[in-house]
Symmetry: C3
Subunit: 462 residues, 3 copies
């Protein structure tokens, strides 16, 4: 709209308030300042959503770095597909299941294709997920979360999954499996309607809703696929298959960490004074996660493994995602550090039980997702004054009630995602197949599935 | 200014409103809330401009990934130079041609070196391109677009262009050729003054103004340079010269996609409730572009080519850049998907007519730029209520009139950029030369033009 | 807090203003619009801080690109550790030294662990470094600067430093050495209390406070470590040890440049109409730095060295960091260009005196940090009307007084950081040792210190 205001001339600031904020103001008779605040809320969701979008580049870097060079094109293709398929599937079906059709316990129905809000003048009025933001902003922020949820599984299934199989999985996840979890929680359904004592479920930005969902799908994928050729020796002992580029992995961690400020602080769904607090807790937990994971792996293996340090950052981030708005900074440190400790043992544990997860996604997103969700029962402040939240309807029942509520939430999500992805993978295994042939796996998926190697470094000296 | 407010002590919030917003408020007697809105508009332009700036890293990654390792230093040097030369040339000349000196049809003159607004107190008052934003914000947002326009051509001219030749091209583009296009459109000149029936030109964020401009320059560059050695076999059939790092290419696509949220949603030149809608359409079109391009290449070649999927995302983004504020989300999907279909045929088509474009820039930015511009004639909503735009002076005449107007715009830009870049390249070809020697091309430009290879991987095992 | 507002229903915009802005409004009886402005100030600090955070990825890319492939894991580990250790050390001690306990000349004491503001309701009220922003926002923005200060030194110490030694250095820098510098300046201590004539120290975003601090530490590190094996031939002449990936280096420069918009424009510590001006000056100085450095190196060496062009951008950025809010755009161009000229001579000069700095950090951050700080004495506008700053308590004494004041500032920071880091490195050298063994250095730090190579490219053809 560059032309508009050039032409408009003097007085455009006033005109702007007429077109921008007060468009909303007129409808709901709010003050001019409240209209500016509403614009600010919407803008923050767009910026935060864009940061979450960039996490796709972070995931791609991490997954590529921790796997072998012969599969990089396939990994890039999957991450690109997660965003492309995810956006379309969430637009067509997922968003309506998650947020359409009222608070039915099981799922929503309605607003397919954003149909109820298809008129852009509606898309730009208030009345999105919250009354302060527009449907367009709500969708934009939610769709990047959907893409994140499915991309998590990509890493655990790397280096052996058929591309078409993966695409189907990606579509089903973003169209149905993840949206149902969202409906049950942020959408006001099943889990949101439960109470234990005074405690209601609490998962600010999605330790369970996004990360555990992705982590359980990752587990099922790795389980049904089986380990990569060469991962276990003749005695069944795990062997390290080192990634091909630790630089990619760490740069990816930095990009994810950066995007996570949008993930967590954007989940406030408003621009208010809590936003810096959320960013602060996010930073501290990730930093502590690096220290926790480094400490354990250094003691256990004798060397400060860099990939594990990076996974420690992600572990801290996943862990703080649920409690980020409910705990004090010192507790964010403790939660992140503990997440860092946990992730090392979890990675080694899955290795031992023959769940071959090339990037440690199940440990990072699944196990630390559970830890983060439960940590609310241990560290959340229960007093009414905390962050002035009692007015906002947020309530922590406290103690065992809250811990139990969080555990129930975990169990329900694990059961739902575990069952549906198990059915999906089992069905595909019995029909189109999950896995590339052994020859393809040895040659690399790039050559066989994508027409050529992802690297052509021999050209260096042509 | 960290010191200021530390010293100021209590009451600084009020002071801030005095120094920040109300600086403007005092002059134009607007409300306190409108002053905050003006600050917000300026801030959004800075954030969006920074996102567009980051697209340089995206372009560098894409271009490097799709070309050979022996030329990576040269590619990086060109991208860095585009930003460096572009910023200075646009500051010295370009911005004044684009926006200085009123609405003369041919170009502006005035405000060289931001001279008319050189006093920083003016640079920070209202009265930039729109009255709500400052000249500093206006310049910042526009200059990164100029750098983008020229960088587009870099890819098509890769692996064989003399570095000094490229630098001259870069300077002329950002000082003169691109600014004139901007003056004719966003600056209120030639094209902006035309009407066909009720229809006026419409190009929200620059499918034609930025991308087609870059695409035409890319075509002329590739045409005058001729194909790379080895691109065509003895029978004249094109051979694939695969890029050296598909990971770079896809990461670059993600960064460009991320930056495009600033490109499109920032082009609103204000923080208002349309911003999330613009981001939403941008996301959907890119996602659909991936699907469209993947579908075609998969059918035609039998494999899901990853580079083409990435180009599909860019095709969707270029296509939606003009109509992003004029079409509904379903139409954004259709426009992006169609862009994805088109780009594959265009890439293969230019290959066939011996226009050697290593990264597909002409297809992505040129052809899809045209498609996006024309798509307004097919998909724009004409009713007055759409987004409340009739008040803002935006008008779509509808139907064939609009389609014709868009076509005229395309023709004028193609003619101007085609003629000027043809003259420029022909002149340089006749004098300093366009192309490195055959030996340099074989050895790689890095060793011969930049003093050494861009990679030194043999050091791995030292 | 996704649940809150979903549940809240209609009227949430008003509720928001109650919970968000007016939380502050109620306490200080400011207007509703001022409350929105306060929210905006806080939000901008979070966004700008996140951009500064991303600079870690930029530093990692630059440092990795300019060094050898055999050390990439170590480089990534150090950069990750700088953020992790830096965040925790600054939380526990550093922030309190910098900003706690009033304006004592030597340092602060108090608010350890953000103790005075540990109650999140305080963390989210006003009263951070400035009264318009919250303690949480203040800490978040400052902590990423601390991590930047220490990461600067990482590059100069690359390829030969023991990992544990580096970790101790990183902790001491972020816990004590850097925070004291901050206290003396932005914290209101020693340097802030000095005057020469009418002139007070001026360092908007930290040419001296951050970059020179890092640069001096880098110098001392390189000095005590000594040069890498093979850096000097038998006659003592320096030999080039080219980096392994110029692509990484330039991408890193783009990411740093992007983050610098947050670094400089965020240092306004408020969202006001100066922000675009700061971004503009930052862009121009960096662009000019590329041109300056390219010009010199092209003339001296006969080729446009790409790494040096990249360092030119960083030189321009470091140079403009202090004067960014005090000079006109043309002066930003001159300051950046001069920084670009200087950095080439400085890099070559340190090479000659046997200070082996693999990435040129001492030249970029140290020498250009000094240049940028002094440039205020030459280019700052002294008239009261400039940017309306006289009301804000900002004052430039002008001429020689100001130049002298800036020089005193440089001397004090060089003395403090030089002395403390010299003691630290000397102590560590005498005890645990600074340097890995010659064998480790030859094999690369990755294999010996981190358990394996950072690259496994031979897997390409498995």
């Amino acid at each position: 709209m560059k032309r508009k205001l050039v032409a408009t001339g003097f007085g455009a600031i006033v005109a702007l308030v007429v077109t921008a904020g007060p468009a909303l103001a007129q409808e709901s008779e709010i003050s001019e300042a409240a209209a500016v605040q509403a614009v600010l809320d919407n803008l923050w969701l767009v910026i935060a959503g864009a940061l979450v979008f960039l996490m796709q580049a972070g995931f791609a870097f991490v997954e590529a770095g921790l796997t072998r060079a012969k599969n990089i094109a396939n990994i890039m293709a999957k991450n690109l597909a997660d965003m492309a398929i995810g956006a379309v599937a969430f637009f067509v079906i997922g968003y309506s299941l998650a947020f359409g059709g009222g608070n039915d316990w099981w799922g929503g129905l309605g607003d397919f294709f954003l149909a109820d809000s298809a008129d852009p003048s509606v898309l730009n009025a208030g009345g999105g997920l919250t009354d302060n933001v527009t449907p367009a902003a709500s969708f934009f922020f939610q769709v990047v979360f959907a893409a994140t949820a499915v991309t998590i599984a990509s890493g655990a299934m790397a280096e052996r999954t058929k591309f078409t199989t993966y695409l189907i999985f990606s579509a089903v996840m973003t169209a149905i499996i993840y949206p149902i979890v969202v409906h049950w929680t942020w959408g006001g359904g099943l889990i949101a309607q439960m109470e234990i004592g005074d405690a209601k479920y609490s998962d600010f930005a999605g330790s369970t809703i996004v990360h555990l969902t992705g982590g359980v799908a990752a587990f099922m994928g790795a389980f049904f696929l089986g380990p990569r050729i060469g991962k276990y020796d003749d005695d069944g002992k795990p062997r390290a298959i080192p990634g091909h580029n630790i630089g990619y992995a760490v740069i990816g961690v930095f990009i994810l960490w950066f995007g996570w400020f949008g993930f967590n602080a954007g989940s406030e769904l408003a621009a208010d004074s809590l936003v810096p607090f959320l960013a602060l807790n996010t930073l501290l937990a990730a930093a502590a996660g690096v220290l926790g994971a480094s400490l354990v792996i250094w003691i256990k293996s004798g060397v400060p493994d860099v990939a594990m340090a990076g996974n420690g950052a992600l572990a801290g981030l996943v862990s703080i995602t649920a409690p980020v708005g409910a705990v004090e900074p010192w507790a964010a440190l403790v939660i992140g550090f503990t997440g860092g400790l946990i992730v090392v043992f979890a990675v080694l544990g899955f290795d031992r039980i023959r769940i071959d997860d090339p990037v440690g996604a199940i440990a990072v997103h699944g196990v630390c997702g559970i830890w983060g969700t439960l940590s609310i029962g241990l560290f959340a402040r229960y007093d009414d004054a905390f962050l002035g939240r009692e007015e906002a309807g947020l309530f922590y029942g406290g103690g065992l009630d809250q811990l139990a509520m969080q555990a129930v939430m975990v169990v329900i999500v694990v059961a739902w995602v575990g069952a549906t992805t198990a059915i999906l993978f089992a069905t595909m295994k019995a029909t189109i197949g999950l896995r590339v042939s052994a020859e393809e796996e040895m040659d690399g998926l790039d050559v066989r599935e994508h027409g050529g190697p992802g690297y052509n470094h021999e050209m260096l000296h042509i």
